[in-house]
């Protein structure tokens, strides 16, 4: 079931506090079954599946390209962490991070196509827009955290899960986690407004989060926040939702394979 609420402090607090169960645990057999399903969809190159691809029904639109708007989450989130560790201006934290990426590129530690490599080739004005976009994201994230409540911790990274022998990496987006007693509530912040497939995207992130957990424990509730729309959608960490997420991932892999075959033909 998909629950919808307004993105206000009161509604969100009620949504978080109303979690009744502590989530499911994926055992080894369930992981193996899921891996087998993905291995049955062959691929000649490594593939990456995330909630976005699931929401696009496996049809990737344009190849990824670095732009200030695609770099903002990575740089802005790292800056938000620094601001929390050591109180300072968000823009200064963003500039430090951009400098570090560029230093890595200059010293030959960044591979071709990486963020550092791209940043090092930008004009000062374009670099300024990267700083502007990342600072916007940093403020956006910290503001969202303040609404959720300061018990919420920012996630240092997304969840990555490699499916054995399937050349498949699953990437689950997450921005904040709230741990209370034995329950874990994970939040993902998105710009824009939720589409019709937002529920499938949330279940995918719920599944990947559980697969990436050392003990396979799913979040009690996975909440998607769309501040632009003032909306919150959530799914519970039930076995039904985890299965639904797994089916959506396999479907996306099948659709992606069909698209590649069509292009090759």
């Amino acid at each position: 079931m998909l629950t919808q609420r307004r993105f206000t402090q009161a509604d969100l607090t009620a949504l978080i506090n109303s979690v009744a169960h502590s989530g499911e645990v994926l055992d080894t057999q369930q992981r193996q079954n899921f891996g087998n399903r993905l291995r049955s969809v062959p691929t000649t190159t490594s593939r990456r599946i995330d909630a976005w691809l699931v929401e696009q029904a496996g049809q990737s639109s344009q190849p990824f390209r670095w732009r200030p708007s695609t770099a903002r989450r990575l740089v802005g989130t790292a800056a938000a962490h620094r601001v929390q560790r050591e109180p300072r201006r968000a823009i200064d934290a963003v500039r430090d991070i951009v400098d570090e990426y560029m230093l890595r590129a200059v010293s030959g530690q960044a591979r071709f196509g990486s963020l550092g490599h791209w940043l090092s080739g930008l004009t000062p004005a374009a670099l300024g827009l990267v700083v502007a976009e990342a600072t916007n994201w940093c403020h956006f994230l910290l503001e969202s955290q303040a609404i959720v409540g300061h018990d919420a911790a920012l996630c240092p990274a997304d969840t990555y899960y490699n499916v054995n022998a399937a050349q498949t990496t699953l990437r689950g987006r997450r921005d904040m986690v709230l741990t209370t007693e034995a329950r874990r509530v994970v939040l993902r912040i998105r710009q824009g407004s939720p589409g019709k497939s937002a529920g499938a995207g949330l279940r995918t992130d719920l599944l990947i989060d559980a697969l990436g957990h050392p003990e396979g424990a799913s979040a009690a509730r996975f909440i998607g926040v769309w501040p632009d729309a003032g909306l919150v959608l959530s799914v519970d960490g039930t076995l039904e939702n985890l299965r639904s997420g797994a089916r959506a991932v396999v479907r996306a892999a099948v659709a992606q394979r069909r698209q590649l075959i069509t292009i090759a033909a």
Partner: protein, 190 residues
């Protein structure tokens, strides 16, 4: 070209708010804006336009950005300045989507006192509908975050005029009336 002018001035605002030094208001802004585009239609249109059109746009953008520089001032980080803030609020059970983009939002919705201020920048002179635009921004922001903003301003880089309005219930009620009128007119026209 008018659309490109608006986009470049918005980009310049974003750069200035985030303390970026602009050596050349047009070239730097164009370079920054084009680095963020996946669709090059507008850029191609500019590059293939005749020299006269290009020169006019350059002069136009430089003039608007110089007004921004002169009047904008600086923003403390504690105000959480965010540029190009978009809203897409669904109302009437999803039957109606209210879209909006505010060029600059400062303040926080989590403050105990109303502290959110919105600034919209336009390259056109402020006309009769300026108040209506301000009311619409206030309404959408209220629906989006559930918090009534403190103040909304509309600034014209063409004339350096700034219209500032405090937000109250009367203003929000008038914004609803504006919306109702607009929907009625649209329905009749359809």
């Amino acid at each position: 070209m008018a659309r490109l002018r608006g986009l470049l001035v918005t980009t310049a605002l974003s750069l200035l708010v985030h303390e970026q030094v602009l050596d050349d208001a047009f070239d730097d802004t164009l370079s920054a804006w084009s680095s963020n585009q996946s669709d090059t239609t507008l850029l191609t249109a500019f590059l293939t336009a005749d020299a006269d059109v290009q020169a006019r746009l350059r002069a136009d953008v430089r003039s608007h950005v110089s007004v921004l520089r002169e009047y904008l001032g600086t923003f403390a980080s504690a105000w959480h300045p965010q540029t190009a803030v978009r809203s897409r609020v669904l109302v009437s059970g999803g039957a109606l989507e209210l879209r909006d983009e505010v060029d600059l939002v400062v303040g926080s919705v989590t403050d105990s006192r109303a502290a959110l201020s919105l600034l919209d920048v336009t390259t056109a002179p402020l006309g009769d509908r300026a108040d209506q635009t301000i009311r619409y921004h206030a309404l959408v922001q209220t629906l989006r975050g559930g918090v009534v903003p403190l103040r909304v301003a509309l600034f014209s880089t063409a004339t350096a005029d700034c219209l500032v309005r405090d937000v109250d219930n009367t203003m929000l009620q008038r914004a609803l009336d504006d919306l109702d009128t607009h929907l009625t007119v649209t329905a009749v026209a359809a």
